[in-house]
Symmetry: C2
Subunit: 139 residues, 2 copies
DNA sequence: TTCATTTCTGAAACCATTGCAAATATAAAA
DNA sequence: TTTTATATTTGCAATGGTTTCAGAAATGAA
C-alpha cells in the first residue's frame, strides 16, 4: 500500500493535476493488482466518490497510460484492462476462468528476438494463454 | 505460394468443409503475410468471388483461429488482424506508420519466464511496439 | 428425388469506447 | 475577496468493429 501523498507526488511529477477522481483512480490501479477494466474501476469507486462518470474513468486511465504510469493490456481481445505495475513482467490469461496472472520474466528477454537492428523499441508485451493450475486441477 | 489442393487438404484435416469462400479466405491469409483485418480480406476477395458477405469473412476467420490454422493478433487495441503464419515468431507494430512486421524469435524463449509450473500454455504472443527503421530515418 | 444438415447472407443488435457540450471545480489575477 | 480564465468532470448520444439472427441457398446422405 502506497501513501496518498506519494501517489499525489507521482501524478504531479508526470504533469497531471491530482484531482479527487484522478487520485482515487490512480490509487485503485496501484493498489489492486487485479488488472481491472475501466468498468471495474468505475463500479469500485462510484460509491466512495459519490459521483463519478464512466467517461472520466476512461479518460483518466488513458491519461495515465499516455504518461507511462499505467500499462494497457490487450491480452483479451474483447476488452481492455489496466495494470498499475509498469515493471517488466509477462501476463497469463486463463482460457477457462479468464483470470489474468502476472509472471516474472528475465529483463533481457529481448535478446531472444533477432532482426531488431534499426528498430526503436518503446514497449514489449508477452502474453501467454492456456489453462491455469486451479482450473487444470478441476478437470 | 501453396497449391489450392494442399490448402484444401489442410482444411479437411482440421474438420472444416472447404467451401469456395473458405478456401479463398484461407488461401488469402496463407499467401499474404500482411496481417490483414477481416475488412481487408473482404475487400480483396469480394470481386474475385462475385458475392461475399463480411459476416462470412468474420465467421470463417474465427473458425480458422479456433481450429489453430490462423493466428489472431491484438497488437493494435483498436482492431483485430490475422496471420496465416502460425509458427513461433514475434510481432512489431510501428507507432508511426502502423505497419506490423514479423520478427524471428528463439523457439525456447519461454525459458525466460519463471513460475510456469502447473500452467498449460497453449498460445504465446510477443508484441513489440516503437518506431520502425524506415520511419526513424525520416525524422 | 427427398430430406436433413451445413453454410451463406444482409440486416439488425450489441457493447466497449469515444465525442460533445454543458456544468463544475480549480488556479491565477485583480 | 471577487473576478476571470483554464482545467476537469459529467451525462448522454454517437461511433464502429464485431456478433447474432432468421431465412435462403447449397451440400451431402439415403
Amino acid at each position: 500500500m502506497i501513501a496518498r501523498s506519494e501517489l499525489k507526488r507521482e501524478l504531479i511529477n508526470a504533469g497531471i493535476r491530482p484531482s479527487v477522481q484522478r487520485l482515487a483512480i490512480y490509487e485503485y490501479v496501484k493498489s489492486h493488482h487485479t488488472h481491472p477494466t475501466a468498468d471495474v474501476v468505475y463500479d469500485a469507486l462510484r460509491d466512495e466518490l459519490g459521483s463519478l462518470s464512466l467517461t472520466t474513468v476512461y479518460n483518466t486511465l488513458k491519461l495515465f497510460v499516455d504518461a507511462g504510469l499505467v500499462q494497457l493490456l490487450t491480452i483479451d481481445d474483447t476488452f481492455r484492462c489496466f495494470d498499475g505495475d509498469t515493471s517488466c513482467h509477462a501476463h497469463f490469461r486463463c482460457d477457462s476462468c479468464g483470470k489474468i496472472v502476472d509472471l516474472k520474466i528475465k529483463s533481457d528477454f529481448l535478446s531472444m528476438v533477432s532482426g531488431l537492428e534499426g528498430f526503436e523499441i518503446k514497449e514489449a508485451q508477452l502474453y501467454l494463454k492456456g489453462i491455469c493450475p486451479i482450473c487444470k486441477r478441476k478437470n
